[in-house]
Symmetry: C2
Subunit: 598 residues, 2 copies
Amino acid sequence: MPSYTPPLRDMQFVLHELLGAVDQLKAIPRYADVDAETMDAVLEEAGKFAAGVLHPINLSGDAEGCTLDKTHHTVTAPKGFKEAYQQYVEGGWPALSCDPQYGGQGQPMVMNTCVFEMLNSANQAWTMYTGLAHGAYAALHAHGSDMQKKLYLPKLVSGEWTGTMCLTEPHCGTDLGLLRTKAEPQADGTYKITGSKIFISAGEHDFAPNIVHLVLARLPDAPKGSKGISLFIVPKFKLKADGSPGERNPIVCTGIEHKMGIHGNATCQLSLDGAEGTLVGEPNKGLMAMFVMMNGARLGVGNQSLGLTEVAYQNALAYAKDRLQMRSLSGPKAKDKPADPIIVHPDVRKMLLTAKAYAEGGRALATWCALLLDQAEHHPDQKTRQDADDMVALLTPIVKAFLTDNGFTATNTCMQVFGGHGYIHETGAEQFVRDARINMIYEGTNTVQALDLLGRKVLLNQGATLKKVGAQIEALIRAEGVNESMAEFINPLAGLADKFTKFTTEIGFKGMTNPDEVGAAATDFLRVAGHLVFGYLFARMASVALKQIAAGNADPFYAAKLQTARFYFARLFPETATLMITARAGAANLLDTEAALA
Amino acid sequence: MPSYTPPLRDMQFVLHELLGAVDQLKAIPRYADVDAETMDAVLEEAGKFAAGVLHPINLSGDAEGCTLDKTHHTVTAPKGFKEAYQQYVEGGWPALSCDPQYGGQGQPMVMNTCVFEMLNSANQAWTMYTGLAHGAYAALHAHGSDMQKKLYLPKLVSGEWTGTMCLTEPHCGTDLGLLRTKAEPQADGTYKITGSKIFISAGEHDFAPNIVHLVLARLPDAPKGSKGISLFIVPKFKLKADGSPGERNPIVCTGIEHKMGIHGNATCQLSLDGAEGTLVGEPNKGLMAMFVMMNGARLGVGNQSLGLTEVAYQNALAYAKDRLQMRSLSGPKAKDKPADPIIVHPDVRKMLLTAKAYAEGGRALATWCALLLDQAEHHPDQKTRQDADDMVALLTPIVKAFLTDNGFTATNTCMQVFGGHGYIHETGAEQFVRDARINMIYEGTNTVQALDLLGRKVLLNQGATLKKVGAQIEALIRAEGVNESMAEFINPLAGLADKFTKFTTEIGFKGMTNPDEVGAAATDFLRVAGHLVFGYLFARMASVALKQIAAGNADPFYAAKLQTARFYFARLFPETATLMITARAGAANLLDTEAALA
């Protein structure tokens, strides 16, 4: 059975020592009262819930999966999921970072992000139920009418109800412009919605008395394509006059998918047969409204893989210390035992450190992004808000794609540490791989993220946003470039930053004559950008650690951080050498392939 | 539902145009009668069986899995598996490359390898049943007594019985020196064998009246460690005087594993409780005898991933042409349709071509290796035999590890092409990934392969074997270096060959003072070696294609081959840029990590 220990110490390091989160938050009036002790205490409590309640039902939830009663269109989640959700609601967790006006606790997003990392580590399939509810909250909070907010937000904030995003249809996922679900206006101002949705995560279950479906559909007079899509609230049970669930709305689950992983989450086919809904925001502007939810969801997906990376690492590390097999190449290390623990082998350590570095780099990035989100939403200074918003926009596709690619790599190397035992369900290692695999696909495939980053976030504004992140990296290089003990980190970072700037200009020019050049370079570009940001954060983390060590701090945490940073720069960061070659390889070797792909 | 078309044209290209297999085989007296038409006809028939019989029960076999009756210790394979096996036996396929003395057809290994690629594409889980039987045949053919051969080989050759390799125990997999199963000599010359084995593929099933278990165990007076292991035949049913199955032997299946993939193959826990066995070969030399089986099995595992790469590619390609989603970045390509097929997108093509290049490179390598095996075993010239044997020894860990790593990458990129639909069981894409995952683990993890390659096959003989392969690469570079149209292939190949030679010397020196340096470099070294061999083979394939095109051959197959080779050198081969950095990064960043891995 796998186990999980919340990485509280590293979270504290990132929040307090790397990012100075408390000071940054205190500059925002609504967070003037935050203090480190309270933050740490909340994370500790969340960690207890994750490790104590959610993780014990993760492996069993995977084995059991969800069950659909086709007659009554009801779905039963795996054993213990409903009870865990009740505890979660009783603990007030859904309200953590929600608006106090609707019953929320008004805590910063950065806390919510740390909490969700732990929930994801413990049980991604379970966490999706609450994650989607939070997404529905965010979309309605941004775009709902006063009446809609009043009716739905308190229930979503308390966690009494959950939510979904109903976008995908059998013939369209990425290309929502093709969607066919129809919304017909009724005399009373509501709409009758008819169509078929698929891949609706948490689309039906047994642990809330109502589900708030946010559904994309087309009005009768809507323009074709993505400019003719509107957003609707379609509750599972229509609301009575007092706001309580009444009559069943004809939006029903007709099937659940048999998936590679996240078995504990019901991935539903939903059939809408004149289901009653109300319009959210303006007609035909549904995609924009949904993007509020989607951007948050993309950061959330990166966070899912961060969580899986951490838990996979912890279990592989424990196994590598315990499993005795062969002797170290440089002579026996555990002479009193029949063989050495496999952690003595350099390649096993490489697999472990890969996961550890990806977890720590990912945590630093996800937490930084969340802090930027808090600034973007609530900082009193307009320029600070704008800068933070721009940087989050740029970093979001990196968090989504880089962290999920890394998470798949990491869960796989951790599974490999287990040898044959990793292929067996009981150790849990292979579940992490299967669960992690979806994260590269949903909420916009990683190819879509790469095109979003290079095409929209970088080239469309001539690199203006990129320069904002670049300025921070350059400032670090200037400040630490004179510090000899930082040379092993700053030199490779500076080298890449220089090449990256030139390459961005180059691809911008090439893309002007042939947009396919952008498509041919985008995924490699995103991974280079990811390493640039990780390199920046690892250099900063190393700097903090070096200062503590120089000051005589004997906490082995700092030595560990330094070793991880060294490993990262020696073994993972050099991936950029290949990426800079392939990113510049041009589109011809992909497009002049009609015969090969015939 | 996935589909499969045997890649007969590419097999013919590799056999006849790339390797000149017929001429090479004709130089071996026992293969003097081979001819291209017969070879092609046999492959065509095998392809029909694979595509028509095995592939239709692949997805259903994965969903159903194997069932253990705990009371009677019987295992039922998925629906259709038994019937397919009967057809396979009736078709005479198990005998294809077996010794005519025992009823075999005496065809070269190179044919068997091509046949098995197709079986693996169609249904890896099913194919393992017959693959292990062939392994047992090979081990007994090499090390069995005349009586053992007479009793067992005809049954294994005909396929009437199947076989297994019983190595792993709960506390030992890689480190067989730790194994505990005991063999006690009996007065009649047999042995009573007692112990527990796990992870025994095809260990129990319902489609043969007997199973020939090859079991590693320890004699009472055996030396400790790997030098005290002996090999035994332990049939599921003891043989009566006439050689037919008699009394049940107490070697029983007590459990089957719940695995990530290859659900159709029963992975058994076997309990031996004084089971009767006979010694194979000399006492305490069992590991050596088993290695005959294991070397063949390692090539076989590479072939499994080759098969999965091919079938994953075919299905992803078909989907990419069919699925309409978004428009090409450079303007609509299918203007009459609501969106373009996703194959217009450069990144989708990259994913497809990655799989295609890995399939074609893998096929060239696996087939070359098999031809070398035929020479190593049966060529009349002693030096030719020795050279071929040395090269196979060197290439075996590359086939096992490089092809299985590539196969995992390829099945994953192909799954990604399907977007969300790839995560769903019905498309079959995710099964290929799950099945491919075990290939990186069993028959020696890929780390073990890397240590075998660098430590034993390269450094132990001061690079002598490596030079034999290197000489072939150098000859190609010399011959084609003057040819301008080959420069795009020869230049990068020559560049890497040069660096590789220097690096091998460097790591040899470092390893002498610290063996952990070998462990720290081995996996990267193996991947570089893999690309060197793939680069060599792709350059040769490009050369064949260029000559045909220059001669006016309009078959689009040659244009396709050239495009694939170009893609390979532009997009996959550059991985070596990073690998040459990380392979030289040294052991310190892995070993000086006590704090990080605390």
